[in-house]
């Protein structure tokens, strides 16, 4: 066997293995998101209680934007984490907002009455906001910095550790007090740094 043939075969085999390795180590469920780092698409929608709520009104706060539906089983799984987060960040510059996806007001209200949750949720008729955020399905959770920029997105029930580490890093980055620390606690960065 000539030397160049041996090399050719080695190169081909290495190429194949490389391609296989690349394909097999990727999670096929993870889909690309085009809007990380971009400004969050604005909206002004009706809440479940009939008020109007715009995303712009939450500027200056870290926002946890959660797309959910009453028919979505993983959302039921996720709900306790969101409730814990609501308590955990009660005294911080964090706002939680639900967007009801492909569902109606009655079902969504019933879900919240049964499972708890006091943060507002808005209705998204025709899923225009969901499409604007590039939502594939529910639950999906977007994390917005105080300037209204999308910093992270989580597909599927958001784990507690993921949520707190993301929100805390956003709070710290914007000079605010992270969760678990008394907002008025001594020695913590003053809240005067907020934009």
């Amino acid at each position: 066997m000539k030397r160049w043939k041996v090399w050719l075969m080695l190169v081909l085999a290495a190429g194949f293995l490389g391609l296989l390795g690349f394909g097999l180590t990727r999670d096929a469920q993870v889909l690309p998101s085009a809007i990380i780092g971009q400004e969050a698409p604005s909206f002004d929608l009706e809440t479940l209680t009939g008020d109007s709520l715009s995303l712009a009104s939450l500027e200056g706060h870290v926002v946890i934007l959660n797309f959910w539906a009453s028919w979505c089983i993983p959302c039921r799984e996720e709900h306790p984490v969101l409730e814990m987060a609501a308590g955990h960040y009660k005294d911080h510059d964090v706002r939680m907002l639900g967007v009801v996806y492909q569902d109606n007001r009655a079902n969504a209200r019933q879900f919240l009455a049964r499972n708890g949750g006091t943060w507002p949720s808005v209705l998204d008729p025709n899923s225009q906001v969901a499409i604007a955020y590039g939502v594939y399905g529910v639950p999906e959770t977007f994390f917005l910095d105080p300037h209204g920029r999308i910093v992270k997105k989580h597909v599927g029930p958001v784990p507690w550790d993921y949520l707190t580490s993301t929100v805390d890093s956003l709070l710290v980055a914007s000079g605010k007090t992270p969760g678990g620390v008394e907002a008025a606690g001594a020695g913590s960065p003053a809240e005067s740094g907020s934009p």
């Binding site: 889909l31 085009a34 809007i35 025709n126 499409i131």
Partner: protein
């Protein structure tokens, strides 16, 4: 002489090249073809489906404006929908899919076209939200270009290797390759093949006597 033995191997080599090329062909291209075929059949039903989704913002635009209307709008909507991937089912186009989100995306397409946006602008809106993934046909630039170029490159490369291989085989069979005998293809072939009758007789005798 050695040709009959090696012909299957050569065929296998070419086949492997073709297989590689086939494997590399963007699957999505087939999806686009089927989508295009389906378009003709489903164009009417698609417009029926989207008609149900009267979107609040379009109510004003549909009367008249810069955009399309009527049958032309339906046809253009179907045209764009056939090129977008259903985010839920993933293997189907937005036009073929019966998923709620696909129908909502169709309504969004229709509304944007009706308000005067070009089909390209509508597509790039969805790309800006979902990424290039949303396009059934991968774009012919950047990293995605690889999907188009690789199959052709592999096929040409495979044929090239096969041709080199055939040439080197036939070169060995006929005469020496020119630059004098190389140690690599030296003794084995010529020693066995180049026996004269006298030599063969001598060899036979030697074997028998032993």
């Amino acid at each position: 002489m050695s040709a009959p033995i090696h012909a299957p191997r050569m065929a296998a080599l070419v086949a492997a090249g073709a297989l590689l090329a086939a494997a590399g062909t963007p699957l999505t291209a087939q999806a686009v073809d089927t989508a295009a075929a389906a378009r003709a059949d489903t164009a009417v039903t698609a417009s029926d489906a989207t008609a149900g989704f009267a979107t609040p913002r379009t109510a004003a635009d549909t009367g008249g404006g810069a955009g399309l209307s009527g049958a032309a709008l339906d046809a253009e909507t179907a045209q764009v929908a056939a090129q977008l991937r259903c985010p839920v089912c993933r293997g189907q186009s937005v036009l073929e899919s019966t998923a709620t989100l696909s129908k909502e995306i169709q309504a969004e397409i229709k509304q944007r076209l009706a308000s005067g946006q070009s089909p390209e602008a509508v597509k790039s809106y969805f790309v800006s939200r979902y990424g290039e993934w949303i396009l059934l046909k991968p774009p012919t630039h950047g990293f995605s270009l690889l999907v188009w170029v690789l199959p052709v490159a592999l096929l040409v490369g495979g044929l090239g290797v096969a041709w080199l291989w055939i040439r080197s085989r036939s070169g060995e069979a006929d005469t020496d390759t020119g630059g004098g005998p190389t140690p690599a293809d030296g003794p084995a072939g010529s020693a066995e093949a180049g026996l004269s009758d006298e030599e063969r007789g001598w060899l036979d005798r030697a074997i028998r006597n032993d």
